[in-house]
């Protein structure tokens, strides 16, 4: 499945996940090398629970600075960002965050498709994106769009995904650059 092309330098890595992907993130985030040269943006379907800060939770697992995005935040290389619950997240040309409280898409807000497309329009071939476990089809179309714009696309191996619907939906409509298990996803990210 792997392509032998040299991937262009990555400016942003977006990780989209839904049911069953939290555990995977708990493996990936602590294993990222500390001097990543790109921004990592994580779009996760989750409950809007204002008592728990996801940034605080993941800050305890890595020395990389972790933030939950607010309106107009700058996406800087070397940081990890989470999309806030219950907002769609788009990206402006100046690499700032644009939040949007419009209709749900794919029954989801944030919708992974929306962020995937927006990032692809801005970062073009310097976009890398991973689609993890999940129970619906959000992210599949967006990942294909990134692929068509020459970005790097990765799908979690459905055999490993706790809920394989989301990875399988992506594999139904296009062939991503990589289909990998979590440990290989980590190795790949650290090679970017």
């Amino acid at each position: 499945m792997e392509k032998n092309e040299i991937s262009p330098s990555i400016e942003i890595l977006i990780i989209g996940g839904s049911a069953g992907s939290f555990e995977v993130l708990l493996q990936i985030v602590p294993s990222l090398k500390l001097d990543i040269k790109f921004a990592v943006l994580i779009v996760l379907h989750r409950k809007n629970n204002s008592n728990i800060s996801i940034a605080d939770l993941f800050s305890k697992k890595t020395a990389i600075p972790v933030f939950e995005c607010e309106d107009k935040d700058n996406l800087l290389p070397g940081n990890i960002y989470f999309a806030p619950p219950d907002y769609h997240l788009l990206i402006e040309k100046d690499r700032t965050v644009c939040l949007d409280y419009s209709e749900k898409e794919n029954y989801s807000r944030p919708a992974i498709d929306i962020t995937f497309k927006s990032a692809s329009d801005i970062y073009k071939e310097k976009t890398a994106a991973i689609l993890l476990s999940g129970a619906n089809r959000d992210g599949a179309d967006g990942l294909k769009y990134i692929s068509q714009n020459y970005g790097t696309t990765i799908v979690q191996d459905p055999k490993e995904a706790e809920i394989s619907t989301m990875p399988k939906e992506a594999l139904k409509i296009f062939e991503p650059d990589y289909v990998l298990r979590s440990k290989d996803i980590i190795a790949l990210i650290n090679s970017f």
């Binding site: 204002s50 107009k72 409280y101 294909k144």
Partner: protein
Amino acid sequence: MITADVVGDEDLELLLTEVASVYGYDFTEYSKASIKRRINRICLIDKHKSFAELRYKVLNDQSYLSRFIEEVTVNVTEMFRDPTFYKTLKEKIIPQLGVNPFIKIWLAGCSTGEEVYSISILLHEANLAHKAIIYATDINPTVLEKAKTGIYPINYMKFYTENYQNSGGTEDFSNYYSANYDHVSFREYLRKNIIFSTHNLVSDRSFNEFQLIICRNVLIYFDKVLQDKVFNLFDGSLETLGYLALGSKETIRFSNLNQTYKQIEKEKIWKKTR
């Protein structure tokens, strides 16, 4: 499937400039990423196959303008959204407002009114409604008409009741409305001290001085330049020691208000200190 945008960056600039000059609705300082998505969404829904087609329709069919504005501006809202925000309003802010002989509140960008009725309920529960006025404004006359009716789908009530209870509400929420088949009407007395009016944050000025301005999830659609203008408008419309309340991911951090406003705990509520 996600297709390439019908309306590109340059098209967008052109259309927004033309809409501003022809109709006086100025969206040129809206967040580009968001408004571009909204406009491309209109093309998809209304089946405009090219930018030229959309542009012709918008500029030559005045009846289409209201649809355009309704779709470009986002009107998604709910009652007692972010219960912890309402809990802070109820416990910390509303009692403070109560010391004034008259309470004037501005809810800017009220959309279809769900938050206005939420605030009205808080004022009634605090026995302050008799001396309070809420100015509820929006750019869009169509949503204001809806807000005035106070009629909402009955299937949202379970969720709104949960929000109400999570914000510290202890009354029977269903006392605030009467149910009618698939809809509910909120009680007339909740509307008595609400003034609904159109107001465009981009072009209209301050119209009063308030002790509380609530503007939630409106500024996210504006670019930083426009945000600053609106922050200044709010600052000029707020009494000293008044409060400014924003959406849960909005901030005054990037504006000059940051110097003179003090945040109330972790909520997106700031007190004007001077």
